[in-house]
């Protein structure tokens, strides 16, 4: 059967902060209300709610259960939750709308990332018998990948510093971003290693944050947004997690997902890549075959604001906003999870 035309028709994001003293519910509630007001709809218009978060990252067991308090689930709603980034919750909502059961979905994600030792928590994703007991941090695993890429000449430290410099400068005009700066490539290269071969600016800044988007089908989308961001292709794939069993200098799951999402069919104006480390942005650009003309991460990307389990949906929000604003016609939004870019979701959106 033919797929339905589904678009993002509205987004809302909360400015990133660290050591937030709000509860997750107090962080989420205003963002969802802001989105409903922006799109001009009521809670009763939402056919499906889908939430992306991870208990371990949010600092409270069953934190997603209390998040239901933030969306006013009364009278009872059709709702689901993924223990993953909000971008995968968007994928579930897109599938739900494709079944024809609902026409409008609200997708949201949140992470109180700085309330716990996030670098150690993320490593609880690794093999519980062979890797996790050694307690490597997530930055350490990324540094091993960076070293492999440097050794193979796939990236250079200068290119990594260029990604950091560009991202920090772009962040200056993004209210959601946290880390901003105007350092030159040379100034960044002069900084000491924090996790050789990674320097501080090569690693994303963990922040507390949340975001939400509304998806709608066909004519409803045209009614709710002047320029809907139509999802033309969306796919996600996973690689083996076994460190060193697959090449660390490429991302086959990102390449497959990009091909299935139709990235290569036409030019991409803006690509919002979820790369928590500078060398990973370079790997992703190569894996997806993005040309030099594509504007990468005008928002500054996850490097300058990385809310656990929400940084992927943030890329969708940023990419969709560039369609709404008319500054781009064909955009790419990407989300990654797991160590060393293990799992990747790619989505191509177009304005009409």
């Amino acid at each position: 059967m033919a797929l339905r035309d589904i678009a993002i028709v509205g987004t809302a994001q909360r400015p990133s902060e660290v050591n937030s003293t709000f509860t997750s519910v107090e962080i989420l509630l205003p963002v969802i209300q802001q989105l409903l007001d922006k799109v001009g709809i009521e809670r009763s218009d939402i056919g499906f709610w889908c939430h992306g978060s991870c208990d371990y990252m949010s600092g409270q067991p069953f934190s997603f259960v209390s998040a239901v308090d933030a969306i006013g689930a009364w009278p009872p709603i059709v709702e689901s939750h993924v223990e993953a980034d909000g971008a995968l919750a968007l994928y579930e909502a897109w599938v739900k709308i494709q079944t024809g059961e609902v026409d409008v979905a609200l997708v949201f994600s949140n992470g109180k990332t700085t309330s716990g030792p996030i670098d150690q928590i993320l490593s609880l994703q690794t093999d519980p018998y062979m890797v996790a007991p050694l307690k490597p941090g997530f930055d350490a695993l990324a540094a091993l990948q960076a070293r492999a890429c440097l050794d193979a000449g796939v990236v250079t430290e200068r290119q990594m510093a260029e990604v950091a410099s560009r991202s920090r400068r772009d962040a200056n005009n993004n209210a959601i971003a946290f880390t901003k700066g105007n350092e030159s490539v040379e100034e960044l290269l002069a900084m000491p290693y924090t996790m050789n071969p990674l320097r501080a600016h090569d690693c994303a800044t963990p922040v507390d944050g949340c975001n939400a988007v509304v998806l709608a089908a066909g004519d409803i989308a045209r009614r709710l947004a002047t320029r809907p961001a139509w999802i033309r292709g969306i796919d996600h794939r996973i690689d083996t997690q076994r460190l060193g069993a697959r090449s660390m200098t490429e991302s086959s799951s990102a390449a497959i997902a990009a091909q299935k999402a139709g990235v290569g069919k036409d030019r991409i104006d803006v690509a919002e890549l979820h790369a928590p480390y500078t060398h990973q942005e370079l790997l992703l650009r190569k894996a997806m075959g993005l040309s030099e003309s594509t504007h990468i991460n005008p928002s500054g990307g996850a490097l300058v604001a990385n809310p656990a389990m929400a940084a992927g949906l943030a890329r969708f929000a940023e990419a969709a906003e560039s369609i709404f604003a008319g500054s781009a016609d064909r955009v790419l939004a990407h989300c990654t999870s797991g160590p060393m870019l293990q799992q990747n979701l790619v989505c191509v959106m177009e304005g009409e």
Partner: protein, 385 residues
């Protein structure tokens, strides 16, 4: 119109308090290998994998589906993780079915699992939050006041919970995969077991289990070409409501009532008690059987306990509930919902072996989670809708 979806393969582990003979990956593969064999396909034929489990702190592995990708040879495939607390086994099967119904994938493997012996479920489910008042002891302490509310308002006699428990534990003896095989329960013996959270007795409480369930779902086009027996998905439904708000009805939550009504409407069921042949119901504490009989729209309000007392929900009754032994006999939390969905499919596929209800044509799988606030249900049949 959405595509039709059929269950063509079902596989589950031997559930136990502790499966010391397997790793977490081994536990999952035991169910997956059986489901693939039942569907007569290999892992290479699978287009996508949808995995569900409850809180990751049960095993101490964050988002374990990422590490399990290796054991599932999922390299290059989509792997999707669902987590909706206790209802997760059910909602995972629904999300997997939606991948087929949306025409996105033709063959989807869905898995629910939990290896609780690695950790401690009681601890994981009741980590005390600062500034609170840690009073109740785990799920039992949370639900027993609600059970008391039901007994007070329905006038149910005290032995109904024990009757349900004896029924489920006896049924489990006809289910080789069940965790508990305790053949010689009688009502008298059951009423002698100690009260853990009065009014909930020891026998009326579910065990903590290691276990996994896996299902192979196929689109109509592929299922038609598939030789084996099938269970066609006629309808799915999910509803959620907040844990606690002023005036909330906790004995028969509105979300459960709405979810069931939506399922019957989509499945074209006018009179559930007449048209449904088997119910695999999520009953972690025995008293929930009479409560859910009312919440699902089978029995009239405050009458659910009479159906239990009259033997209607026995294997030989007019509405058998949990011929598999249910959650009371096996409870790997992440898999329990999918065990209900899979056992319902096995009944209409005629594959339930010793606990098969003869001639079962239509069955429902039911799951709930959180504070009786997340509901997931599906209706399956031996024939297409």
């Amino acid at each position: 119109m959405a595509e039709l979806c059929a269950v063509v393969g079902v596989g589950q582990t031997k559930h136990a308090a502790c499966r010391a003979d397997v790793s977490i990956a081994g536990l999952v593969r035991e169910a997956v290998d059986r489901a693939l064999a039942d569907a007569n396909i290999t892992i290479a034929d699978v287009d996508a994998i949808v995995i569900g489990k409850a809180p990751d702190s049960l095993e101490g592995v964050a988002m374990p589906e990422l590490w399990l990708a290796d054991a599932l040879a999922a390299h290059g495939k989509p792997v999707f993780r669902v987590h909706t607390a206790g209802s997760v086994g059910g909602s995972t099967a629904i999300v997997a079915a939606q991948h087929v119904m949306a025409g996105i994938h033709g063959t989807v493997l869905t898995i629910g699992f939990e290896k609780q012996s690695d950790g401690n479920a009681m601890w994981a489910l009741s980590v005390p939050i600062p500034f609170g008042m840690p009073v109740h002891a785990g799920a039992g302490g949370y639900f027993s006041p609600i059970v008391r509310g039901y007994i007070a308002r329905s006038g149910a006699p005290k032995h109904i919970g024990a009757m349900v428990a004896v029924k489920d534990r006896t049924n489990a003896c006809k289910n080789p995969y069940a965790h508990l095989h305790e053949p010689d329960w009688t009502l008298e013996k059951a009423l002698e077991t100690p009260m853990l959270w009065d009014p909930i007795r020891f026998i009326e409480t579910c065990p903590s289990s290691d276990g996994a369930m896996a299902l192979v779902l196929m689109s109509e086009e592929r299922a038609d070409k598939h030789a084996g027996r099938k269970a066609w998905v006629h309808a799915t439904s999910m509803r959620s409501e907040p844990t606690a708000f002023a005036g909330r009805e906790q004995v028969s939550p509105v979300a459960g009532e709405m979810c069931a009504a939506d399922l019957w409407r989509k499945g074209g069921i006018k009179n559930p008690a007449e048209e449904i042949d088997v119910v695999e119901m999520y009953v972690p504490f025995a008293w929930f059987e009479p409560m859910w009989l009312e919440n699902l729209g089978f029995a009239p309000r405050n009458e659910g306990w009479r159906w239990v007392e009259d033997g209607i929900t026995e294997m030989g009754g007019s509405l058998p509930v949990n011929p598999s032994g249910g959650v009371l006999s096996s409870n790997p939390i992440g898999a329990s919902g999918m065990l209900r969905f899979g056992e319902a499919a096995m009944q209409v596929m005629g594959k339930a072996g010793e606990h098969q209800i003869d001639g079962a044509k239509k069955a429902i799988g039911h799951a709930y989670g959180g504070g009786s606030q997340f509901f997931a249900m599906w209706l399956v049949s031996s024939t297409k809708p």
